[in-house]
């Protein structure tokens, strides 16, 4: 431990901590623009400068470790002047216009300028010219607004293990972006949007489809339904200043009705359905392997996270047969809304518009995959992120916190607790085990409260083993079998897991991967700023939602039972095959020029 003073406050901090971390413990805020949790400090932005007695220069607090006896000042005239100067330099190059910028509400550069009292820019800088990249359905990039902090580079390389964005060229000409300053779709970007979640400014953001949705709602000819992913209800409140971890399920339904959607439905419904299909698929694969001695692809990987699907298509094509053929809950919903539900209200698929509210930018890309048209038209028309829904509600003057709770509409609106936990890492695994274990043994999944602790929490790769005893007749081949499962979140962790599977260091039956750190609750389209403390609060809220439900196992969802009776037949049946399952294909890492 080191003893030091920060602004004359005496404190002790571990030797390994930085001045920035020590200051936070002392309740002293030091502004930052480039620092990202979980990545090495780059010291690129220089707004975290502090004065350390005896040091000639002003060191960067984010990358300077504490020392015993250190005397630090964070608010001296020299520090204030230097920080202001740094900001003025950034602003002199910044090609921005706050009034019309998509980020203006929560832009860190704009906020920091106000916080540090920058009221004029004394430098005449050459402005980086604006260049808008709309090459992907998920993200919008504008080089002119980039302050070259490199948060996106770090997140994309270190957290996601993709490396789509890197500094190109040098000096003033440096551009942070894909290879040779080309568009994002030329490189193997999985469109997860984690870069857009950490970008401090409006240089990388979700592509905004709000106007398209307003237009559909205003069109009297169109029947517009909305689905909301499990992770939205635990985060949308943050868009309205509510504490992270506030559940707003009922208020969200009310808000969506006020927006003007004809029906308010739940992606949770199709998450429960996913468990029926994917659980059956897993048991079928196990049967082929253990009884038939057939060579089936195991471990089976979950397929509900489209960033992970692209990641496999780009980087591990040899494992494509291991991906569950189940579409993601979003796409299952779209295909059923325009067939099953459309029929119930006498609409044709082409008269319906399906809007998704997702925590995820990759879902925008997924909805545009050419094969996602099993209803005969595009199954999901528009995907809005949580952040866009926040903007949309504000545009409509809807104050979420003050609304009364309402419920989801029926036929595709009921769900069990198993669907809720799709929102966080480990959740799909637990939901699948709750149902599969019960199908096989006729008994409830053992473990307290239907939870499987080893696969919960924020560790990067998690494992569990479950030995099956008392299997009923149909599944007797599983008697005494120990099922090994693994869970990874964040594609960097997924890469580590995949490499260990590839080397033969580990072998599993079933593997869950979610693209984003923490799972969907930490998605690239969630309210900013998401760090681990926020992730944990959202996860805690999701488990509260799960435990508050009368039904917590997917196979008990009455609307799921109904759709199998009335429409689908049975899991993996003919109709399911057509509407709920899909296929994958290898992709080139670089688009040829």
């Amino acid at each position: 431990m080191a003893t030091l003073t920060i602004n004359d406050i005496l404190l002790t901090a571990p030797e390994s901590s930085t001045i920035l971390e020590a200051a936070a413990r002392a309740g002293v805020r030091i502004p930052t623009l480039c620092n990202v949790e979980g990545c090495d400090a780059l010291g690129a932005c220089r707004v975290c400068l502090v004065e350390v007695a005896g040091a000639r220069n002003l060191p960067a607090a984010c990358s300077t470790p504490v020392r015993d006896g250190m005397v630090v000042h964070t608010n001296s005239p020299r520090v204030r002047k230097a920080r202001k100067q740094t900001l003025e330099l950034l602003l002199s190059e910044h090609n921005g216009d706050c009034q019309t910028c998509i980020r203006s509400r929560d832009c860190e550069l704009r906020e920091l300028s106000a916080e540090l009292g920058v009221t004029s820019v004394r430098y005449q800088g050459e402005k980086t010219s604006a260049r808008i990249d709309l090459s992907t359905p998920a993200l919008m990039r504008d080089i002119g607004k980039c302050i070259k902090c490199r948060r996106c580079v770090q997140v994309c390389s270190e957290i996601q293990g993709v490396g789509a964005l890197h500094p190109q060229s040098r000096g003033f000409d440096t551009v942070i972006g894909p290879a040779f300053m080309m568009d994002l779709d030329t490189v193997a970007c999985v469109q997860c949007g984690q870069c857009s979640a950490v970008c401090p400014v409006g240089a990388i953001t979700e592509r905004d489809y709000i106007e398209d949705v307003w237009k559909a709602i205003a069109d009297p000819e169109r029947f517009v339904v909305v689905q909301t992913a499990p992770a939205i209800r635990a985060a949308l409140g943050e868009e309205f200043g509510m504490e992270p971890g506030t559940l707003v399920t009922g208020r969200m339904c009310a808000a969506l009705r006020r927006v003007g959607f004809d029906r308010v439905f739940d992606t949770n419904f199709s998450a429960d359905l996913t468990i029926m299909e994917e659980g059956t698929e897993l048991l079928t694969r196990l049967k082929s392997a253990l009884v038939g001695g057939e060579s089936v692809a195991l471990p089976m990987f979950t397929s509900c996270s489209p960033g992970w699907i692209s990641f496999t298509e780009y980087y591990y094509p040899e494992y494509l047969p291991n991906l569950s053929t189940c579409k993601s809950p979003q796409q299952m919903f779209g295909a059923l809304a325009k067939t099953y539900y459309a029929k119930s209200v006498n609409k044709k698929p082409e008269e319906m518009t399906v809007v998704s509210i997702m925590p995820c930018t990759a879902k925008k890309a997924e909805s545009q995959r050419p094969e996602m048209n099993s209803s005969g038209v595009r199954d999901v028309d528009y995907v809005l992120t949580t952040r866009e829904l926040g903007r949309m509600l504000r545009q409509a003057g809807i104050d979420l916190p003050s609304l009364e709770d309402e419920g989801m509409d029926s036929l595709m609106g009921s769900s069990t607790g198993a669907a809720d936990i799709f929102a966080n890492t480990g959740g799909v695994m637990v939901a699948a085990l709750r149902t599969a274990y019960e199908i096989v043994t006729g008994r409830e999944l053992p473990g307290e409260n239907l939870r499987v602790e080893p696969v919960e929490g924020l560790a990067g790769v998690k494992e569990a083993s479950i030995t099956i005893t008392g299997a009923n007749e149909e599944w007797s081949f599983l008697e005494g079998v120990t099922l090994n499962v693994a869970v990874a979140h964040g594609l960097g962790n997924a890469r580590r897991l995949m490499d260990s599977i590839k080397r033969g260091d580990a072998s599993y039956h079933f593997v869950e991967v979610m693209t984003c750190p923490g799972g969907c609750i930490g998605g690239g389209g969630q309210p900013r700023y998401t760090d681990d403390s926020v992730r944990l609060k959202r996860i805690e809220a999701i488990y509260r939602e799960d435990q508050g439900k009368p039904l917590r196992k997917s196979h008990l969802n009455p609307e799921v039972q109904k759709i199998y009776n009335d429409f689908l037949g049975k899991p993996l049946g003919e109709r399911s095959h057509h509407l709920l399952h899909t296929h994958y294909a290898q992709r080139d890492l670089v688009k040829s020029n």
């Binding site: 330099l89 070259k148 490396g163 789509a164 060229s169 040098r170 890492l589 670089v590």
Partner: protein
């Protein structure tokens, strides 16, 4: 104006051509064997054969610490430039993303991703050369060759580039053709300098220094 956020993490002078940068500490020059076996940038050679040769060479560089830049240099000497397919293979061999590799390529001005001519003409536009007519020299060379900076003549004889200070300020303005330094060049001399390279092999004796 350059702010602290601009990309300046690499220490070598990125304007230095390969031969000059040798021994600067950060750069290793390509191995000799590799350089010799691949002197094929005169005619557009069959790239698929070269790609196979590249695949054979890469493992050796992957093992070396800091092997990426030397591997890129060898690749450029083989193809005369860095074709996309070669860069893809290099990025895969090094386990680095394509964007990371192109970040290195675009940092150093001596790397080229368009086919290079047999002779690379580099005009110094450093302060001393600039004030003493470097800009006019560049204009003249553009006119002589009919190409712009960064381009290659159709016969693949010349490529044109501008640089910043070759360390010959006392003898400005300077023009570097391949490894040969031409000093105190003026706009009326450029055509005759080029003529020597058109007629002779390599123009070894033309560095008039």
């Amino acid at each position: 104006m350059n702010t602290a956020l601009n990309h300046t993490s690499m220490k070598v002078n990125p304007d230095m051509p390969v031969a000059v940068a040798e021994g600067s500490g950060d750069l290793e020059s390509p191995t000799h064997e590799a350089g010799e076996m691949a002197c094929s940038h005169h005619e557009p050679a069959d790239e698929s054969i070269l790609l196979e040769q590249l695949d054979d060479l890469l493992p050796e560089y992957v093992q070396k610490p800091g092997g990426l830049i030397p591997a890129l240099q060898v690749c450029q000497s083989m193809f005369g430039y860095l074709p996309q397919e070669a860069l893809k293979r290099i990025s895969e061999a090094f386990g680095k993303s394509y964007s990371e590799v192109t970040g290195v390529v675009s940092f150093y001005s001596f790397f080229s991703v368009v086919p290079r001519g047999k002779h690379l003409i580099r005009v110094c536009l450093g302060t001393a050369c600039y004030v003493r007519g470097g800009k006019e020299v560049l204009q003249a060379l553009k006119k002589d060759t009919g190409i712009d900076v960064g381009e290659t003549t159709e016969d693949r004889l010349f490529s044109l580039d501008a640089g910043r200070c070759f360390g010959a300020c006392g003898l400005a303005p300077a023009v570097l053709v391949d490894e040969n330094m031409h000093k105190r060049v003026n706009a009326s001399k450029t055509a005759s300098i080029l003529e020597n390279y058109r007629t002779s092999e390599g123009g070894k004796s033309h560095g008039d220094g």
